[in-house]
Amino acid sequence: MLSPSEQAPLPAEPVVESGSVQNREALSKGDRLRSLVRWESVLVIALAATVVFGVSVSSQFLTGSNIFNIGLANGEVAIMALPMTLIIIAGEIDLSIASTLALSSSLVGYLWMHGWPMPGIIVFVLAIGVVLGAVNGILVTRLGLPSLAVTIGTMTLYAGMAEIVLGSTIVSDFPASYTKIGVTAFPHTELSYSAVIFLVLAIVFGAVMHATPFGRSLFAIGWNKEAAQYAGIRVKRVKTTLYMVSGLIGALAGVLYTFRLSTAEFDNGSGLVLSVVAIVLLGGVSIFGGKGTLFGVILAVIVFCSLQNALLLTSFPEDATGIVTGGLLLVSVLLPNGGDLFRRARSRKNRHRTSSAS
């Protein structure tokens, strides 16, 4: 496609080199600046602003029942954000997690209809979740397929299986001892059961991610897969494990979702996956992998959920709260890059100066 004459810019390489050196200097300066203003600090400010906003629009905002509602409405999304964080940090993605939720919800309904005991159903469904995750993991690691495409495929596949399992049936006669998680708070707290489970899991995930060799290996894999491999990390095994955890958590979210609404339906949780990804990215996790903290994601969960709730209290149309979610997401990727842009413009100016001087 390119004739030799079109490759003319190649001799200009030294100039590009010097530009990149300047970039590196600027970067270290930028890094210092960035460590001063961590993304988590921005999120804390955003959270404070949200609370102020919430309190100013409604006296209901900080009441116990509203906090219960916030946790109840978003518990499953929050829980699914945890394994998603690990997967994105390892440089992959799992778009099938909400379909796993749908399939596990359908299975709960189907098996309950057929007279299985509830504890047995829960164990079985969680095991199925692990299998679904393992399928993703095998396709991604053993066949070496891009996870974005694979999980779009399994997203459709699992959602389709949920439809096959339950069809248009709606199961809703679950025992009250299980469906109470959609009505009452966890004993001695104002939090919903799903919110409590989220907090417990968040501590576990945070510990694994930031304080174990396994957690460190995720960052290494996300940063540079080949280097991680040469450093003796079993990249494929780690990634498969992550997908299995993701499947397990997706199935757990499905069980909680079913009991919370006291309804098993094949399209339970459809459309949640993009919210999950949005929360993780809002939490400062890099979509390219290798960067992010679980604390950031927890903050993002709280900002996301309470902002949505505050907007609802202002009688903002419920479905349109996506504007705010999307806007936050845009800001969260543009803000850290704003510095880069400025730096690039300056280094271009410098490069221009050096090249005109030579």
Partner: protein, 349 residues
């Protein structure tokens, strides 16, 4: 792995032609594969249930497929350049509502103007996406995920619980999607021509080839003095504009437009592209392949319906097909790489 497919095209000289021909053959085989699967589906379904190849049914399939084929055209241009546009479903919804709403606001407005408005709405959304991606240098997955929400939210606020119903739309407008020559809707013919033009552009125009170069190796593309920012911006504007037009067609086809029009289309469009052999990380795939991918998905959908298999199987089959397509593409890429390497070893280069 896909990068290798493009390398022969960048190396001029005597080693050039034959690997290039090899890659060409592979692409042809890939497209032929989709057509074969399509033919197989049609044949088997028709054998079991002859009603499947009746005019009314074919017309239904083609009408359904055209909108997705059109969206897949824009999406392919973005994906081959190693980007992705997840906002097409929301853009379609916004354009469908705003353009159809024009008929109720301004009676007797020419239909051409409505199409132009749809195009402009879409192109404006695409411009926003493209500008943020190109200037902000932010991953397009994140940007278009965000604009997916923002544009849909905007749509919901604008619609505000109301909807446009078919009775408020002029008959001439509704006829656009429904009139046909025999079983083939005019729309399908127009879209086929448009897809043909798109395929010719991507195959033979310099700027079209540059999209592939960017998708194969972004750094090399930049060093080869390809104006990557400009190309990305153009690809997003085209994708958005096409989604805008598709929105007007959607309105013409369905007649009733509320704020949920086109919800979830983005992933179906990406699925059609991937089934049609467009590599999700850029650098390879054709517009015609993507259009056939869309047609295949629409055909399967209708085939199941005609066969009396519950439509609940739709999604699962589409998912399986998608995974099969990705695996196949990967296999082809791996063996092609091996073949090319062997060849260059034999030549001693």
């Amino acid at each position: 792995m896909t990068a290798v497919l493009e390398v022969p095209k960048a190396t001029p000289g005597e080693a050039g032609p034959s690997p290039r021909r090899l890659a060409d053959v592979v692409f042809k085989v890939r497209e032929f594969g989709i057509i074969a699967v399509l033919a197989m589906f049609v044949l088997i379904t028709a054998l079991i249930q002859p009603r499947f190849i009746q005019g009314q049914n074919i017309k239904f399939i083609l009408t359904n497929a055209t909108i997705f084929a059109l969206l897949a055209l824009g999406e392919t241009m973005v994906i081959v350049a190693r980007h992705i546009d997840l906002s097409v479903g929301s853009v379609l919804g916004l354009s469908a509502y705003l353009s159809a709403d024009l008929f109720t606001r301004a009676h007797g407005i020419p239909i051409v103007v409505v199409f132009l408005v749809g195009l402009c709405i879409g192109a404006a959304c695409g411009l926003v996406n493209g500008a943020i991606v190109a200037i902000g240098r932010v991953p397009s997955l994140v940007v278009t995920l965000a604009t997916l929400y923002v544009i849909r939210g905007l749509d919901i606020i604008l619609v505000g619980g109301g909807m446009v119903v078919a009775s408020s739309l002029p008959n001439g407008f509704l006829a656009i999607a429904s009139s046909s020559v025999g079983p083939v809707p005019y729309l399908a013919i127009v879209v086929a021509v448009v897809v043909g033009c798109g395929a010719y552009y991507l195959r033979s125009f310099r700027s079209g080839r540059e999209l592939y170069a960017m998708g194969s190796n972004p750094d090399a593309a930049k060093l080869a003095a390809i104006p990557t920012g400009k190309r990305v911006l153009t690809a997003f504007v085209i994708s958005g504009g096409i989604a805008g037009i598709a929105g007007v067609l959607w309105a013409s086809n369905y007649g009733t437009i509320d704020s949920t029009a086109g919800t979830g289309y983005e992933l179906q469009v990406v699925a059609a592209c991937v089934v049609g052999g467009v590599a999700i990380f850029g650098g390879s795939g054709t517009v015609t392949g993507a259009a056939f991918g869309a047609l295949l998905l629409a055909t399967i959908n209708q085939a199941l319906y005609v066969l009396g298999i519950s439509s609940f199987w739709d999604e699962a089959i589409a998912g399986l097909l998608l995974i099969a397509a990705i695996s196949l593409d990967h296999g082809i890429a791996v063996s092609l790489t091996a073949a090319l390497r062997k060849r260059s070893l034999q030549r001693g280069t």
